[in-house]
Symmetry: C2
Subunit: 458 residues, 2 copies
Amino acid sequence: MSDLRERLVAAVGAAHVLDGTDDAARDLAHDEALAVGHGTPAHVVRPGSTAEVAAIVTAARETHTPLVARGAGTGLSGGANAPDGAVVVAFDRMTAIRTIDTTDHVAVVEPGVSLEQLDAAAREHGLTYPVRPGEQSASLGGTVATNAGGMHAVRYGVTRTHVVGLEAVLADGSVVRTGGRLAKISAGYDVTQLLTGSEGTLALVTEVTVRLQPHLPVRRTVLAPFRDLATTTAAVARVVGSGLAPALCEYLDDPTMNAICTAADLTLGIPDDVRAAADAYLLVELVGRREDRVEEDLTELGTLLTQRGAVDVYALPDGSARRLVAAREQTFWTIKARGADEIVDVVVPRSALAEFLARARAAGERHGSRVLGCGHLGDGNAHLAVFQPDDEALHATLHEVLAAGTALGGAVSGEHGVGRAKAGALAELGDPGALAVMRRIRAALDPDGLLNPGAGPP
Amino acid sequence: MSDLRERLVAAVGAAHVLDGTDDAARDLAHDEALAVGHGTPAHVVRPGSTAEVAAIVTAARETHTPLVARGAGTGLSGGANAPDGAVVVAFDRMTAIRTIDTTDHVAVVEPGVSLEQLDAAAREHGLTYPVRPGEQSASLGGTVATNAGGMHAVRYGVTRTHVVGLEAVLADGSVVRTGGRLAKISAGYDVTQLLTGSEGTLALVTEVTVRLQPHLPVRRTVLAPFRDLATTTAAVARVVGSGLAPALCEYLDDPTMNAICTAADLTLGIPDDVRAAADAYLLVELVGRREDRVEEDLTELGTLLTQRGAVDVYALPDGSARRLVAAREQTFWTIKARGADEIVDVVVPRSALAEFLARARAAGERHGSRVLGCGHLGDGNAHLAVFQPDDEALHATLHEVLAAGTALGGAVSGEHGVGRAKAGALAELGDPGALAVMRRIRAALDPDGLLNPGAGPP
Ligand SMILES: Cc1cc2nc3c(=O)[nH]c(=O)nc-3n(C[C@H](O)[C@H](O)[C@H](O)COP(=O)(O)OP(=O)(O)OC[C@H]3O[C@@H](n4cnc5c(N)ncnc54)[C@H](O)[C@@H]3O)c2cc1C
Ligand SMILES: Cc1cc2nc3c(=O)[nH]c(=O)nc-3n(C[C@H](O)[C@H](O)[C@H](O)COP(=O)(O)OP(=O)(O)OC[C@H]3O[C@@H](n4cnc5c(N)ncnc54)[C@H](O)[C@@H]3O)c2cc1C
């Protein structure tokens, strides 16, 4: 162990090697997952360059020490939770924005750069990085590793859609460069896409190249209560199919709507009779280059939603819209504050979302758990909070909810990743053939099993 | 060998096993690549189902026979060129469109379905499959295998962007199902994306699930001559950055413009002095839901191009626009008829395209080869024709052109794939680390090397 420490100090300098029992190290040994434990790492190291990352990996390999990458620690699946004795590689010193290129429309950044920093830098050039999970402090390395989604995915796609090039250190300490500042590529297997979403189990990402999009300055938001989620889903299919290209398409159930409005001290002025009739709220944002067109589109959207069964349609004033979207982004903190015991982000075909939620609620009822939530309706991605203090009943509920999702053609995670929270569920519920492929790939690239053991695919 | 034939007959029925020396089989033993040879396969088999594909793979494995998948044979890299003694698996009987789903906005199809058939089926529901390589007879299986691009990629992305689920048979005969009718997924490695672009070297694709897009009915096209390609590229960066979201952004050099207009018997009425001044033609198409907006945007586009150095800007009447785009799609046949000896589809960062073309021309001059072409300027993807009857000089030219592309941060193929034509170049010019990863993956999934040996990554 002291040999390990010496090697790590040689790699990154003593100032950047923390002992695992340090207070500072303790904070860096886990993410925000609610129901996943973590151990005490041997060390937390903070490399400043790719060469230092490679030296860390070599030191770990030679001492048979597991490695856990850590970005901003905002993950929700325990992917950054360190087992006892592991080395945590924290990327918070690698925060350079190397390039914002206005001809290629790409950014090249170090993995510790946050979404907020990147987007701000892009905005200076009239561009944007539109990947927007609820937490803008998330790092580029972490969002690449989990293939983060978020509200804008319905229009812009998820992280995967934007990642065009990577530099990464493999388990053998070698450095690979994949893709580039390229709009597309068809030159061998897409290693960029393989590493995206691999949660630190195949490589440590040391540089990220992502596509940027033109920033569209005009945004208008509507809120539409619906009697039930099946009607809401059908309406959303028409909105997406219309070509209106909404920038977000969220649903919230009534308790979640109440909870986030209370938490944000937000009054939307919806009449009581409408509230009483509503089982689901649909939040849609339109964006565009020009005020007049977005206004026109908003009218069209309102008509479409009314025809498709909305109880009412409210065009939100800019201030309320921003606050409501922000409150929606804070849902995790809100339900955590209210004592949620675990969250679920099952994705299903959009057409199956209402059925999935019915089954999830029924599963909750069977086990005396409360199941409520919201989600990225445009993507068929539910974010459910499960309230159940009893551990056994909690796990029984979770198991039935995840199984209901996969039975409907879905997957255990739409965007949070497998991490440690869903590794068992994936192994049980995933396609056996696809799991076998994952296993072979993992063994081929990390034969000693040192990269994030216990997280990700089996 | 007769044992192999018996097994294949048992798998698919005698009517669907051709002897490799049959005339019909000969036609199925290669694609459209210009400069890649092919052998005589032992047999061509035409499975009708996934189970039959699995039985073929098992028969091949047990007899150590290489397998080459074949879609429509429109590939341009020799990926479907059969080595002597191989079994060609032709997917032309698997042409069912299983689903066009108007809630999930996906299609589920068998691999032999053509782009034309899929798009026609989607159109009946107001949707479209926007992947449009020049050749609409290409199959879904083939386009997934090469990660085909085409003109619309600048707006809609390439095949990869659209593939959300696959069923495929691995080299061991097992069937895997990946992804699904899902807008996104973050549940383990993205095997869907790994198989997309793998050119039949990791698995045979037996079912494809792709995203569909709303069909936008209005389209307007402009043609703008420019004095040089660097100015054109800079202008295109502004067009893309503006949010006008063009549906195509092509450039053509003067000889290619002349050639396709002649071949299509098309007169565009561009004055001689403009032609004399023009070194590159830019073709941009705008699409939208509404006539009035697209007209307005067209005016904005015209102004922008003029400000950015266009010699002139012509809004093309609908008929001419359609014919010019069709003629552009036929470029391959045109330059083939004129005796082109090989083509190149190097992709580079958009900002490097002009420099790449200058270097490519210089390489041509050094070896007495003629190098001309057109390309997907929005994507930084050049389609060059090389005229050089002497084999040695041809290969020297090609090598320098591909090396120039990779030296500028590009790759040997933007969309046609590696196939057999560029396997050597990729092995030489690709990132050694990324190539090592590809090699390990290929060995892990096809340890006996039976899937398309000689094609794709090393
Ligand atoms: C309030 C809140 C709301 C959220 N909303 C959403 C949402 O809507 N959509 C969504 O997708 N997510 C959401 N998240 C989850 C979270 O923001 C994402 O998972 C994000 O991608 C994590 O980034 P991070 O930098 O914090 O990564 P971490 O939590 O530090 O790590 C996440 C995973 O990535 C790995 N990793 C980190 N850096 C690297 C690297 N450089 N190389 C290799 N592996 C690495 C880790 O090992 C771990 O497995 C939310 C989180 C919070 C707290
Ligand atoms: C006139 C013309 C213009 C073109 N323009 C473009 C263009 O602009 N952009 C572009 O990207 N391409 C273009 N192409 C190339 C071609 O259309 C694409 O490469 C297409 O993807 C090939 O599809 P296919 O069905 O013909 O495949 P094939 O040629 O039959 O095979 C292509 C590759 O895919 C593999 N394969 C086929 N089916 C399967 C399967 N089911 N499972 C696994 N592997 C399989 C084969 O082994 C081979 O490696 C053009 C071709 C022509 C003739």
